[in-house]
């Protein structure tokens, strides 16, 4: 697909646009730039980029509005850039449909890795929920069809809640799932008694899957925002 090599940067600071373009041009042929939210939305609609990098401090629109607008007609991965925004604001943007956020000043390597990971995931056929897809991460294999997990070949028993938590995280690998998103998908409601126990369930899943639960490599904590399943870059 030719358009998959086109990326869009929406940022009012020319220096940041240049830096982002520079970081992305190594991997991708074409990086478009927009200096305002309006211009960004127009370019996104016209060019159908494979991924959008969106700065939150735009002069004409809030990042949340741009995000909501795009999500109205596209599932294109959106990576948000933020300078001083609180964890709550970041989580709210992820809830609105942004895929990831990067805090300034970011490391170029980290940024490139995130973008690659989102592009790869976007290119996957949207079948992870059904079929006989098996997810391999380290010595852990998650079989979504059989609803089973093995570690070093040995069967790992998970409680229904733990399985559901792992399935939601794994099928969104690379994406930071906010606490709210996890509550609503695992417990089928955004808030409830179980809300408080989410972190306890995550800790207990880690004990069953991670080599060192204190230095997790599969389920990563995004402090104040949520958790991310690391598919292994």
């Amino acid at each position: 697909m030719p358009r998959s090599s086109t990326l869009l940067v929406i940022d009012d600071e020319p220096q940041i646009r240049r830096v982002v373009r520079h970081a992305l041009e190594a991997d991708h042929a074409r990086v478009l730039e927009a200096a305002s939210g309006r211009e960004g939305l127009d370019l996104a609609a016209a060019e159908r980029p494979a991924l959008i990098v969106l700065d939150l401090g735009l002069p004409d629109m809030s990042g949340a509005d741009v995000c909501r607008d795009i999500r109205g007609w596209s599932t294109v991965p959106i990576v948000v850039l933020s300078a001083r925004h609180s964890d709550e604001e970041k989580a709210a943007l992820l809830d609105l449909g942004a895929d990831d956020y990067v805090t300034k000043p970011f490391s170029t390597l980290e940024f490139q890795a995130r973008v690659r990971s989102h592009l790869r995931r976007a290119l996957l056929p949207a079948t992870s929920a059904g079929g006989e897809v098996r997810i391999h991460v380290g010595d852990v294999v998650i079989d979504l069809a059989k609803r089973s997990v093995t570690r070093e070949g040995a069967f790992v028993h998970l409680t229904p809640i733990e399985w559901e938590l792992l399935r939601v995280l794994a099928t969104n690998a690379g994406r930071t799932m906010t606490h709210t998103q996890l509550f609503s998908r695992v417990w089928d409601r955004p808030h409830g008694d179980a809300q408080q126990n989410l972190r306890v369930h995550v800790a207990s899943v880690r004990r069953k899957l991670e080599r060192d639960p204190v230095r997790p490599s599969i389920i990563i904590t995004e402090p104040g925002v949520g958790y991310r399943f690391e598919s292994g870059r």
Partner: protein
């Protein structure tokens, strides 16, 4: 201007007294002559009643002494003219002695009682006047637009009432220095020449000498009254409890009097009165002075409160400005930092190894800005805490991940048994993470590369104790508390990087959620920093997490 205070100074008083003696003794003569004219028709009771009326009149009009004098003279006239045998002091009938004695006693007692009743009435009137004046002054003092105005008014009233040359009010500040805030009367230099004109023999004019200024300070600090005498001597009052009597001194011969102004057991200022001649204060005057001193104390306290409120307001505004500035600076700094970091990265990719330093420095600057921003949020109260149920493992994992960049040269050993049930706490994850990262960074900064930093946790009752222990340089003796102050740097270690905010932010963030951060030296060298947080239990998990693992 108490009437009673005025009386002894009244030059006409002796003249008036002599004339009233003449008047009443004259009246006595006239009455006696009148009675003599009709003596054959009179009973002794008529005479006694007529004289008694005179005694009462004299006592009521001109006081006790004249009353008693009139009754004694009447007694002799009664005896001489009207008790048989007439025109002699001999008394024939023994019963007449009784009449005469009763008359004399009645007259004297009546004069006494009248005089006392009158003096009480006068005192009551004076007290009422005094209360009126004080009430008016109090209302005036409270209503005065500025506290200084009220104090000046009080100084003026003191000066006019006590008829002294000058009255001054001093305020004591937090550093025990005193400042003149209100005055009435001519400034010391003018008064000096005036005083020199009237009392040429006075060697020590009452000008506020260097010693005088120090005496004001002494009174302010000690809370005891003092006076300077005409001969230059200084006397001080006992350390007694206000407000019984602020003036517990014999003021005779004093030229200046200094009274401590006290509000709620605290000396807030000094009232000083000075006169060109020797001062005399009678009882009502010193009582009046005491009452005014209390008003002055309230005025001084008001002055202090107003100044404090203005200061607090200014501080708040400065604080808001600082916070706004920091927020804006932190945002504006991050954009260039992003560019610098990215360009340094490109340089490094092109083979410029030293560009890595630029990236590290950019990160350091960014951390510094974040620290400043956090400190200003903690100070400004715009700091929200959301305690939630969290697993200690999760906190450790996030902390090790976040601190990994700064822990490259150290080994971190974690003592946490994952076979044991999960250790849980109720704390704010993000803030606690910040605390733990700061403690780990601190350990890395102050211990040699290659050494081991130990991270452990234990639960004691309702408390989780997380310990970061290093084999570093420790904390110099005597600085154990100072290390938690912002911008602290250990003495004798100039080579450390950072602004010295990490530990102070750590402690403040822990305290904001009811936790603590403490330090103790580690046995065998090094430091132990302890983070205490509230422990928690979970009983309502929909399935027990630890018992279902299979091989």
């Amino acid at each position: 201007m108490t009437p009673r205070a005025e009386r002894p100074r009244d030059a006409d008083a002796p003249v008036r007294e002599v004339s009233s003696w003449f008047l009443w003794l004259g009246a006595l003569a006239v009455v006696t002559a009148g009675l003599l004219a009709v003596r054959p028709h009179l009973d002794k009771a008529h005479v006694a009643l007529a004289y008694l009326l005179l005694v009462l009149g004299a006592g009521a009009r001109s006081g006790r002494r004249l009353g008693i004098a009139v009754s004694v003279v009447s007694f002799f006239c009664f005896n001489f003219f009207f008790v048989p045998p007439h025109h002699t002091l001999v008394v024939a009938a023994p019963l007449d002695w009784l009449v005469l004695a009763a008359f004399l006693a009645t007259g004297v007692i009546a004069a006494q009682l009248l005089a006392r009743a009158q003096s009480e009435a006068r005192a009551a009137r004076e007290r009422a006047d005094e209360v009126d004046r004080l009430a008016a002054l109090g209302a005036e003092a409270l209503n005065a637009g500025r506290a200084e105005g009220a104090l000046t008014r009080i100084a003026e009233v003191v000066r006019a009432t006590l008829r002294v040359t000058r009255c001054e009010v001093f305020v004591r500040d937090g550093h025990d220095a005193v400042t003149l805030v209100a005055e009435a009367g001519p400034p010391p230099s003018e008064a000096r020449t005036a005083a020199a004109g009237t009392t040429p023999d006075t060697q020590a004019p009452f000008a506020l000498s260097m010693g005088g200024a120090r005496l004001v300070e002494w009174v302010a600090v000690s809370g005891r009254s003092a006076l300077e005498r005409m001969d230059g001597g200084v006397r001080v009052g006992a350390a007694t409890e206000y407000p019984n009597d602020p003036l517990d001194l014999d003021v005779t011969g004093a030229q200046t009097i200094l009274i401590p102004l006290r509000v709620r057991d605290r000396t807030v200022g000094v009232l000083r009165i000075a006169h060109s001649k020797a001062l005399t204060l009678d009882r009502p005057q010193s009582r009046f002075l005491a009452a005014l001193a209390y008003y002055a104390a309230l005025g001084v306290e008001r002055l202090r409160l107003v100044a404090e409120a203005e200061h607090a307001h200014a501080l708040r505004e400065a604080d808001e400005l600082k916070n706004a500035l920091l927020a804006s600076v932190s945002h504006d700094l991050r954009t260039p930092l992003t560019t610098i970091k990215a360009l340094a990265h490109d340089l490094r990719m092109d083979g410029h190894e030293r560009a890595a330093t630029i990236e590290e420095e950019a990160d350091r600057l960014n951390r510094f800005v974040a620290d400043l921003l956090d400190l200003s949020r903690l100070n400004g109260g715009a700091f929200t805490v959301t305690p939630e149920l969290n697993a200690v493992e999760d906190l450790f994992g996030a902390a090790l991940q976040r601190a990994s960049g700064l822990l490259r040269e150290h080994e971190v050993s974690v003592a946490l048994d994952t076979a044991e049930p999960l250790l849980l706490g109720r704390f704010d994850f993000v803030h606690s993470l910040r605390v733990l990262v700061n403690l780990l960074e601190n350990a890395a900064k102050y211990s040699p590369g290659g050494s081991v930093i130990e991270l452990s946790v234990e639960r004691e009752g309702d408390v989780l104790r997380i310990v970061v222990a290093d084999r570093g340089f420790g904390v110099p003796a005597g600085e154990e508390d100072r290390i938690f102050e912002p911008f602290y740097r250990p003495s004798g270690r100039p080579d450390t990087s950072g602004a010295g905010l990490g530990l102070s932010i750590a402690r403040r963030m822990a305290e904001a959620q009811g936790g603590t951060v403490t330090y103790e030296p580690r046995e065998g060298g090094g430091s132990r920093f302890m983070l205490q947080l509230a422990a928690a239990d979970v009983s309502t998990l929909d399935s027990p997490p630890s018992s279902t693992e299979s091989l």
